[in-house]
């Protein structure tokens, strides 16, 4: 049913003039709408019966496009249809522009000049929106499933205005792959977008798709994979120079570690580099925990972050404990290494008491209350000791530590420390004891 459309398009209506200024935005949208349907306009002015055969065919195609009727056709007919659309360069009709309504002062938005309209969009919106016109074009293209270089141009343009449009990114990556475009060139471009849009996460998903394909292309070429890993890590370093705690970048990095098997290729060293710059960078601590305690070489598959894992070698546990201890000495009031220590002990099935002496370095409490001043260098050490003592059954000591926290060393959390004291009285356990119960409960019921 689709006409053969390979004749020279001599009867095609004149191409639209180069972009011109319109007095109002409504005029501009209307013009864009009309430009997108030249054959319908031609038919309306000449009358369908006066069209040439080729014009008639093009007109029919344009109408099929506009109504979406082609969607119900068999695949082969659809292919034929699209070939004609392309060879005849039939534009994809835009939806008819709607009334733009009135602004807050009651003025008709359609009467703004295009420039005023642009300003209006910026001003009136808390979040800068997309230009509807450009999105309109893209939608039409998406509806037609066109994957052409102009899609790349258009999506680049839209992304420069709003990088958070999910479907735009998805369509861009589909088009890139369909066109067999250069992925390294795309990565170059994406690097710049990412540096300009620190908070955007769609970029990182896009990057995953790109890298996934690069990895497929490279196959088992170890050298090339290593190079890829290196260049990705180098780019992340650039991102971390801007913000060393960027959640999306860290998230991508974990994905990359798994994808490229980077467990033992400089990840721990890189965390240490970042921690030397800022020992309070909790993101780097969290990444270290991931790299150490999810490494498939020795970790039990599926072991949760909060669970004991019998697979971790002692020397690794010792190494991690020593590393965190050093960081605690460097900045005793930094909670990150204290949390890390608790995590390591849990993974290794070791008791808090095993580090009682270490935590005691930061806390000197006279044996009897009222006999001299205590000396506390870290509230986290005191908290650690409270749990260690509760674990040993030394409730009195534990209670005193919790009281000191609430009354003196961590007063903003007084209610919490009081709650812990009440827990201690009611079941004799500190956090350590209670945690134990929960884990047992969870195991019993097979979760």
């Amino acid at each position: 049913m689709a006409p053969k459309g390979s004749k020279a398009p001599k009867a095609r209506p004149k191409p639209p003039d180069p972009p011109k200024e319109y007095p109002t935005i409504a005029d501009e949208l209307l013009a864009a709408y009309q430009e997108s349907r030249p054959y319908q306009t031609l038919a309306a002015s000449k009358g369908i019966q006066n069209l040439t055969a080729n014009e008639k065919a093009c007109y029919a195609h344009a109408v099929f496009l506009e109504t979406g009727a082609w969607r119900s056709w068999p695949a082969a007919t659809q292919n034929e249809f699209w070939k004609t659309i392309q060879s005849e360069k039939i534009p994809i009709p835009l939806p008819k522009p709607q009334d733009l309504g009135r602004d807050t002062r009651g003025i008709e938005v359609g009467k703004y000049t295009p420039a005023e309209f642009k300003l209006y969009l910026r001003r009136e919106r808390e979040i800068e929106g997309l230009l509807g016109k450009t999105m309109g074009y893209l939608r039409a293209i998406m509806a037609a499933k066109e994957h052409s270089p102009r899609v790349l141009e258009l999506t680049e343009h839209i992304i420069s205005m709003n990088a958070a449009h999910y479907t735009v990114w998805l369509y861009r990556s589909q088009t890139l792959l369909a066109l067999n475009s250069s992925i390294p060139a795309e990565l170059e471009w994406v690097n710049n977008v990412a540096l300009d849009n620190q908070k955007n996460y769609q970029i990182w998903h896009h990057r995953q798709i790109l890298v996934e394909h690069l990895v497929q292309d490279v196959g088992s070429d170890e050298g090339k994979l290593r190079e890829l890993g290196k260049s990705e890590v180098a780019f992340m370093k650039e991102m971390f120079d801007e913000d060393a705690k960027n959640y999306h970048v860290w998230s991508y990095r974990q994905w990359l570690v798994r994808k490229l098997d980077l467990w033992q290729k400089g990840e721990i060293e890189d965390c240490e580099r970042l921690l030397r710059e800022d020992v309070r960078n909790n993101s780097a601590w969290a990444h270290r925990f991931f790299v150490v305690f999810s490494n498939p070489r020795y970790c039990t598959e599926g072991s949760k972050a909060t669970e004991f894992d019998g697979g971790i070698p002692d020397e690794i546990l010792d190494r991690e404990i020593e590393f965190s201890k050093a960081a605690c000495f460097e900045a005793p009031q930094n909670q990150s290494p204290w949390n890390y220590l608790r995590g390591v002990l849990k993974k290794g099935g070791r008791k808090l008491v095993s580090l009682e002496c270490f935590a005691g370095e930061f806390v000197k409490i006279p044996e009897k209350e009222g006999e001299g001043e205590e000396d506390v260098k870290s509230s986290h050490a005191l908290d650690f000791l409270a749990d260690a003592w509760a674990e040993k059954g030394e409730r009195e000591k534990a209670d005193r530590a919790l009281r000191l926290l609430g009354d003196k060393y961590d007063r903003i959390r007084k209610n919490y420390w009081d709650w812990r004291r009440a827990l201690l009285k009611s079941d004799g356990g500190g956090l350590g004891g209670i945690e134990g119960q929960f884990v047992v409960g969870a195991k019993l019921f097979g979760h």
Partner: protein, 408 residues
């Protein structure tokens, strides 16, 4: 030192939100960005918390908003982020199982749209069955939810706790938590898998992250706990429960209360010169003579980050759900002072950090945080749904009223 207690200037905030209502909730076409529905929800709910909600609007205004939200509804179920995400209906050919050709419905937008409708109208125009069917197609094998499902049936979008929470809330709003018939159970999402996905997100330090291998984050922690609450699988804080959705509740509580930080204005100034965040310990390195700052207490979203208004909600509400003691773990006065005297803006609304201009997101979450702490002048809040308890009850009535929907 006696510190005077600030109080809520409701009139000022109502004015702020009415201005937002005017400039954000639009007529027809001007709404082009995908977050419009989200902003709409914040505005309607803020006005409700302040007692100036949609029930005080003119009938015309309500109808207007309702129709605008309904324009975002996708023909195959769910909602898109804004009306002009919709191409003419003919473009939406269902290629089977709710998979959509273009501009697919989007999970967060669907949540905000249904919430929004609950403020201005009824649920009878929601294509409930389509929506629930579509919701089910958004769940992955591992229990997580994506944001959209493409025409090829690929579930796209992150697999973090935010979409879990949104999915659990949509399910709650449209089906409720009553016992389901066998037929309904078949069409339901897999709750056990959802719970085990959330469980798997707890990190070594007790919080919850994008995954357990990632850094704990207060936003994800809230979403995880709210998801569990909405499917009735939240454990009590004091005893272990077999079906609990968290592996270790006390350590989550410890992580949450650790998000509080004493705030002093110098912290910010220092931060400008030196990007390393400064955490001040109350009393440790200072002599007794040095003043402790307990006057203002803010919250950060991750360990060693700076305080930000919205985390007062994410953290406060998470604790509210975990502890039946109703926030007694937090000392409310310095938190109120931080919000009222540091991040509240002269023209109404709240900014992200002290000195920042107000924005809709932080303004809403500041009100919500205050409402969880039973601020006089605000309606009490339901922490899991992040709307007033009164609105939650209204939502239940709307759900019941529309229970004999044919669906579509």
């Amino acid at each position: 030192m006696a510190v005077s207690e600030p109080s809520l200037n409701a009139a000022l905030h109502i004015k702020y939100w009415q201005r937002c209502l005017k400039s954000v909730l639009p007529n027809g076409y001007t709404s082009m960005d995908s977050s419009r529905v989200t902003l709409g929800f914040f505005i309607l709910s803020a006005l409700d918390l302040l007692g100036a909600g949609a029930d005080t609007f003119s009938e015309d205004k309500r109808t207007n908003i309702k129709e605008w939200i309904l324009k975002c509804q996708h023909p195959n179920g769910g909602f898109c982020g804004s009306p002009n995400h919709r191409y003419p209906d003919a473009s939406y050919v269902d290629v089977g199982h709710g998979k959509q050709v273009m501009d697919p419905a989007n999970l967060p937008a669907t949540y905000f749209a249904i919430m929004g409708l609950s403020f201005v109208g009824s649920f009878d125009k929601i294509r409930r069955n389509d929506c629930l069917r579509w919701l089910k197609t958004m769940q992955r094998e591992d229990g997580s939810f994506g944001e959209i499902v493409t025409q090829d049936g690929v579930i796209e979008g992150g697999r973090d706790m935010r979409t879990c929470m949104v999915a659990a809330a949509i399910r709650w709003m449209l089906r409720g938590d009553e016992i389901f018939t066998e037929e309904e159970k078949k069409g339901d999402i897999d709750v056990d898998r959802l719970v085990s996905h959330v469980r798997a997100g707890q990190t070594y330090d007790g919080g919850i992250g994008e995954s357990s291998q990632h850094e704990a984050h207060a936003g994800y922690t809230y979403c995880a706990i709210a998801s569990l609450k909405l499917v009735n699988r939240l454990p009590e804080s004091k005893e272990s429960e077999p079906n609990s959705g968290l592996t270790n509740v006390p350590s989550t509580i410890r992580w949450l209360v650790s998000r509080q930080m004493g705030y002093t204005a110098e912290d910010d100034e220092e931060e400008e010169e030196d990007p390393a965040p400064q955490v001040k310990l109350q009393g440790v390195y200072t002599d007794e003579a040095a003043p402790e700052n307990e006057q203002f207490v803010g919250f950060n979203g991750r360990c060693n980050k700076r305080a930000d208004t919205c985390y007062a909600f994410w953290v406060g509400a998470a604790l509210n759900m975990l502890c039946h003691e109703k926030n007694t773990l937090l000392n409310v006065s310095p938190i109120r002072r931080f919000l009222f005297e540091q991040t509240q803006h002269r023209i109404g609304g709240f900014g992200k950090c002290p000195g920042d201009p107000p924005d809709i997101y932080h303004s809403y979450l500041a009100l919500a945080a205050l409402a969880t702490m039973n601020e006089p002048g605000l309606k009490p809040l339901d922490a899991a749904l992040c709307i007033s308890i009164q609105q939650k009850k209204k939502l239940e009535l709307l759900r019941k009223a529309a229970s004999d929907w044919t669906g579509e």
